[in-house]
Structures are given as C-alpha cells and as structure tokens.
C-alpha cells in the first residue's frame, strides 16, 4: 500500500462552489493534474517556491480542501470520504504554526495528544531531543520564541508516533543545533519505517534528509526523482590547474563548456565521472576542484528548463 497517491489531482480556487473568499475575483489553478506516489517508509521532499502549490496539496491530503478534479488517497483512504480516519493516523505540522497562547506548553501537548486519541508515547523522547525541559513546558505558549513554538509544533505532530508525518517547513525558526536534532529525529522515523512527507524550500536540508523529491511549479509537477539520481544528472563545475600540456578532454562523454587558458582548465561535467577521471589520469594535475552536486542547482536547472 502506498502512503500517498494522487491521480490527476487538481485544485482551482475561484469560480467554484468551494472557493475561499479572498480568491473569488480571479480563478487560480493552484494544482494541475498532479500524479504523485509516496512510498511507505520513505522521507519524501516536496519542493517549490512560495505559491507553487505545496500547501494546497497538503491541505487536500488532510481534507481541508476539496479537489476540483482527480483524487488522492492517504494510507489507502480516500481524502474526500475518509479524512478523519486519515488524520487519526497522521501527524501534521502546519507551516508557521499557530498555537493556543493561553495554555502552557505541557497543557497544549496534553490537549492535542488527547484530541489525537492515541497515547503520546514519543513525547518524552522528542522533548528531550529538542531540549524542551519541564521549565520551558511549564511556561505559557505566548511567552515562547519562534523557535520554541516550532519545537512544540514538531512534538505535537509526532508525539503519538503517527504512521505518516506531514511536515510543512519543519525547520523554520530552528537554530542550527536544533535543526541537527530534528534531522536525527527524521532519521529515527525512517529507521522505524514511518513515512515522512516533507515540504520545504530549504533545498540543502531536503538534499540531506530526503530519499526522493517532487518539484512543483505553478501547480504542476516538474520532477519526481530520487535525490541521488537528480544530483548525479546535474552538471558540476570543474576547475583544474595542470603543469605542462592539458589533457585531451574535447568530445569526452559528459564534458561541455570546455575552456583552456594556459594551465587552467574549466569545464562542466555531467553524469558518469569515470571517463573524465580516466582522461586526466596521466596529466600533471596540480590542483583539481569538482564542485559538489547540489540540489539547489538541480532545482534551478529544472526551473530554467521550464522557463525555456
């Protein structure tokens, strides 16, 4: 059973029965025939800039929105007819989470835990890892900093050990140490076979924690691939300084934008690196820099292609 599957999922705001008031004037196609499959046990990144349709998809999956066309199933349950059952098995961290300011952190977690209807078996461990001590949890939420609110948001989403975690910009407001702690939590979830659907525009963290990514642009799916495949395919900048004659690289598979100026060679390298490494094996290479493949560049390349 797939964790999440969407088939031709489309959401149009405006001009329909379910339109939000603010979008009534101009119809907006927020999601356009999206076909997506998230496998159980994977950490899945859902990428796109603001307004690309990330939050719309999450809200459709949780039953907050009704699709204009197509359908979605979460944990095998249709979102239109079983959203309550879906939410019973899901943990959700909204982007820019708002909490009940009049409660203490502990009261809030108790309340949301009871509403979830399942024991908060992971709360102590999560609070420990995110450094939410008794003193902090005893304070009113209104006195919390942005980062502390986010930490409480993460705990409320995961404390009942859901089968599927849907996290919208989860590291927003977290300092680097807490981001690292959060990545550790994600690693544990993955090890425990839990599925994580992760929306973000911080590409470095998606690259770090996700198995596969989907990239959306203006509501349409631009790419859906393994992170490793996406990175392997992207062109890296290579800069090399050689003593003596430069190696013959022209026409080598994967090599482009070759430029030789004196002993300095620059080029773009794509795909399998072995032909390139073989070609420079005999050269007197004094310095070699191969820029690491980054998801950010892959993302920008994909967007560039789409623009083109």
């Amino acid at each position: 059973m797939t964790a999440i599957v969407t088939e031709g999922l489309t959401k149009r705001y405006g001009g329909g029965a379910h339109l939000p008031r603010r979008s009534a004037a101009a119809p907006v196609l927020a999601l356009d025939r999206l076909d997506l499959e998230v496998r159980p046990g994977e950490v899945f990144g859902f990428l796109g800039p603001n307004g690309a349709g990330k939050s719309t998809l999450i809200r459709l999956l949780l039953g907050f929105l009704h699709p204009t066309a197509g359908r979605a199933r979460v944990l095998g349950i249709d979102t239109e007819h079983g959203s309550v059952a879906i939410r019973a098995r899901t943990g959700y961290l909204p982007g820019g989470i708002a909490l009940y300011d009049g409660l203490t952190g502990e009261q809030l977690l108790d309340y949301l835990g009871r509403l979830a209807g399942r024991p908060a078996i992971r709360r102590a461990e999560l609070c420990d890892r995110l450094e939410l001590g008794r003193t902090t949890l005893g304070r009113l939420v209104r006195d919390y900093s942005r980062g502390m609110r986010q930490k409480v948001g993460i705990v409320q989403a995961l404390q009942h050990d859901p089968e599927l975690a849907i996290l919208d910009e989860p590291t927003e407001g977290l300092d680097p140490l807490m981001q690292r702690a959060f990545y550790g939590i994600l690693g544990d979830l993955r090890a425990a076979g839990r599925t994580v659907f992760f929306s973000s525009h911080i590409l470095s963290e998606v690259e770090r924690v996700c198995d596969r990514v989907a990239i959306v642009r203006r509501g349409r799916l631009v790419a859906l691939e393994e992170v490793a495949t996406l990175l392997a395919r992207r062109r890296r900048r290579v800069e090399m300084v050689v003593d003596g004659a430069p190696p013959t690289l022209d026409g080598l598979p994967g090599v482009s934008d070759l430029a030789v100026a004196g002993g300095r060679v620059t080029l773009a390298l794509e795909g399998d690196m072995r032909p390139f490494l073989g070609a420079i094996a005999g050269a007197a290479v004094r310095d070699l820099t191969i820029e690491p493949a980054r998801l950010e560049d892959a993302f920008l390349e994909l967007y560039g292609e789409e623009e083109g």
């Binding site: 705001y13 029965a17 379910h18 339109l19 939000p20 008031r21 603010r22 979008s23 939050s55 719309t56 809200r59 949780l62 907050f64 929105l65 009704h66 959203s83 309550v84 059952a85 939410r87 019973a88 899901t90 959700y92 909204p94 982007g95 820019g96 989470i97 708002a98 909490l99 009940y100 009049g102 309340y111 949301l112 009871r114 509403l115 979830a116 209807g117 409320q156 989403a157």
Partner: protein, 272 residues
C-alpha cells in the same frame, strides 16, 4: 457527534467568563425584586397620582414588562432590559461568532482540525458548549430573581412554577442568536464579518421590537425580530404562547443545520 476533549477544553477556556457573566446577571436580577420590595408601593402611589404620563407607562408596558409596578412586571422588564441582553450576548454573540472564525483567524483551527475530528463534530460540540453557557447564565438570572424575591419577602407575589418556562424562553432566544452566530462563524475566515452579522441580527431585532412598541405603524415588523418571541410577561402570567417557543426553536435548528451543511463543504485555504 460530541468530542468530550474539545468540550472540556472549551469549558475550561470560558469558565471564568461564564462565572463573571453569571454573577453580573445574578446581581442585575437580584436588584429588581429588591427595588420592588423597597420602592414598589411608593412608585405605584406616584403612578396612581397621575404625575407620570400614561404614554410613558404604555411604552414601558409594551417593552415586555407589562405593569412594571408589579413584581412580575419588574422581573419581566429586567429580563428584556438591554443590560441583561448585553450580558447574555457575551456568549450568544461573542462566543458563537468567534468559535470557528476566531480559531481560523488565529490559525489554531489548523492544529485542531489536523486531529481526527470531523467538522460536523466540531460544530455540534461548539453548539453544545454554547447551549451550556446560555443555560447556565440564564439560569443564574432566574435563580437570583427567585432568591432575591424570597430574601425580600415578596416571593409570594410570583408564581414560581412559571420560572422553568421563563428560563426555557430565554435560553431559546439566546440559542437562536448563538446559532446564527455559529453559522456566520463557520462561513467566514475572519472574526469581524461573523461578529458583524450576528451583532446586526441582534441590534436590528432589538430596534424592530422597540420601534414596534413605540410606533403602532411599525408593529407589523415585530414578528421579524427574535426578541418578539421573548415573552416574559406572558410566561410569568401563566399565559405563554407555545408559538413563541416553536419559532425560536425553529430558528435555532435552521441556523445549526446551516452551519452543519456549510462548514464541511467549505474549503479551508491556508491562513493568510
């Protein structure tokens, strides 16, 4: 259909307000038998002397109090007085219109609805909470009236068996207002429109009722006011019109049905 955890949370978050409103209503209600016991007979003598214009007395009577110089009349007037109405509206208008729209505006509805609670369950639970608050506060008004009448030795002038019906009449009126508030609340993303619509219903209804009382040509408009169906004078006289109760119950049911139909079908887009 009712989520006990949510109901408990709503109760805990409102209990101080419930206590404050109940105390204020009780103080107001206790004042009327006290005033009657202290000055009622003197006032009646002044009235019978002809100093007070008959038109003023007619107006006071038509506003719901009947003969305001009887205990039943002054209790009835206290029941429809703007002070009592304003206090009851803390829940019928304030709580009801903020119940969903306020959560949506603050962004906390996200967290709440990410739990396994259906929107129908949410509306029903909030309505039950509203009914409880209204029942308690109207009950405080009634109990304080009776207690004050007993304490001042004038309880014998009242037919206490009519008080449960008076309580029901008051509860149904403010539940009807609250039902409209809840329907408005689930229909918008912002508190202000929900509050505005509900307040408009209350103010327009109150003005229509007063206008119809003062101006015979406008009397035909009174049935369009919910306050027309609050009949403390008739209830205390043992002459309650069942139709008043039926109309208020029907408005309540219609408003609740509207909320239950609209809310689950609505799109809840990301908060702005």
């Amino acid at each position: 259909m009712i989520d006990p955890v949510l109901l408990g949370h709503v109760w805990r978050s409102q209990r101080t307000k419930v206590a404050a409103v109940a105390l204020a209503l009780a103080a107001w209600a206790a004042l009327l038998p006290l005033i009657y016991a202290s000055f009622g007979q003197d006032m009646r003598r002044i009235l019978e002397s002809g100093i007070v214009p008959q038109s003023f007395l007619d107006m006071a009577s038509s506003l719901g109090g009947g003969d305001i110089f009887t205990l039943a009349g002054s209790v009835a007037l206290g029941f429809v007085h703007p002070i009592a109405v304003a206090l009851e509206c803390v829940f019928a208008v304030g709580f009801a219109s903020a119940a969903v729209a306020g959560e949506r505006q603050r962004g906390t509805l996200e967290v709440l609805l990410s739990r396994p609670i259906s929107r129908t369950e949410l509306v029903v639970t909030l309505f039950v909470a509203l009914a409880g608050f209204v029942a308690l506060t109207v009950g405080a008004h009634i109990l304080a009236t009776v207690a004050s009448a007993i304490a001042t030795g004038v309880a014998g002038e009242l037919d206490l068996s009519t008080f449960p019906l008076l309580w029901l009449n008051g509860v149904l009126l403010f539940l009807a207002v609250g039902g409209i508030g809840l329907a408005a609340s689930v229909s918008t993303d912002r508190l202000t429109p929900a509050l505005g619509v509900t307040l408009a219903v209350v103010l327009a209804g109150y003005v229509l009722q007063i206008l119809g009382s003062l101006w015979p040509d406008a009397a035909g408009l009174q049935p369009y006011s919910l306050f027309h169906y609050l009949r403390p004078q008739e209830v205390l006289a043992g002459d309650a019109d069942p139709w008043s109760f039926v109309v208020l119950a029907a408005v309540t049911a219609a408003a609740l049905a509207c909320a239950l139909v609209v809310f689950p079908r609505r799109d809840l887009a990301a908060p702005t």
